[in-house]
Amino acid sequence: MEREFIPSDYLPIIIQSVVALGFVVITMVLTHVIGGKRKKIRTLRKDENFECGIEVRGNARFPFSVKYFLIAILFVLFDVEIIFFYPWAINFKEFGWDGFWEMLLFLSFLLFGFYYIYKKGALNWED
């Protein structure tokens, strides 16, 4: 049977949205209301982001080599794929030869990927 949805079915969603929005707005207003009227001491150095006591120099948002990102993301990729080996290694005997061939296939895909990035020069740090 086809179920029909009438607009009132969506009422809980609307209520939830209103509560979520209301909570945020009320909290933001309330902190200002109960936070006290007296003037707090604020200075330039107190409002700084960093707090180790050393003066901040320059801007952190400058361009740097994309190689760092490539190496990091490739590491994550291969690292995660290694994790798939663990369940196989634990059930090595149960899976038998079938499991072995499947894992070998998986590994060959991996190695093909590795060969690809190697040929593309993604691991080439010098240039």
Binding site: R38, I41, T43, R45, E51, G53
Partner: protein, 186 residues
């Protein structure tokens, strides 16, 4: 065999008590809470820092006073504990760390070097951290024993417990900070 748990209690502040009711002033309650939950920021630069490590250790255990949680960020710290020689180059760093602590904040100078420069009466050493930040308690010794640090800490607790809530908003306090160059005059 059952182990009876040991709870450390603090004495209630002055006030009126009736069965199930206790009335006192806001200042005293907040002072009581604050003085037994001070989060220290250790600024350990030399041998007094080693003594402080002993103070935090199991034998002396500063955690008994509600301070086992050291704050390594000035934003959440209540008490700046300067322990050790402060070179003149380090002065602005101490001042900035103090400045970035949230109000109310207290400072304890542990050891001779932090209090007065100690034996380092030279061109490169700050002759006491009270040249850059206002200090509440000085602990003598070179280096002081952990008992002395704890004694100084308890003096801080007395100050915290008895401080009026409006002190940090007062003109007097502003002038104090202006005197140290932390706040600019308006």
């Amino acid at each position: 065999m059952t182990i009876k748990p040991i709870y450390t209690k603090v004495d209630p502040p002055e006030g009126y008590s009736a069965p199930g009711v206790f009335a006192t002033t806001f200042d005293k309650v907040i002072g009581l809470a604050r003085s037994n939950s001070i989060w220290p920021l250790p600024f350990a630069t030399s041998c007094c820092g080693i003594e402080f490590m002993a103070t935090m250790g199991a034998h002396y255990d500063l955690g008994r006073f509600g301070s086992e949680r050291l704050s390594f960020s000035p934003r959440q710290a209540d008490l700046l504990m300067v322990m050790g020689t402060i070179a003149k180059k380090m002065g602005p760093v101490v001042q900035q760390v103090y400045e970035q602590m949230a109000e109310p904040r207290w400072v304890i100078a542990v050891g001779a070097c932090a209090s007065s420069g100690g034996i380092f009466d030279t061109y490169s050493v700050l002759q006491g951290i009270d040249r850059v930040v206002p200090v509440d308690v000085y602990v003598p010794g070179c280096p002081p024993r952990p008992e002395q640090i704890i004694d100084g800490f308890m003096r801080i607790q007395d100050l915290v417990a008895n401080e009026p809530l409006r002190r940090r908003y007062s003109q007097e306090y502003r002038e104090l900070l202006i005197k140290y160059g932390i706040l600019k005059e308006k």
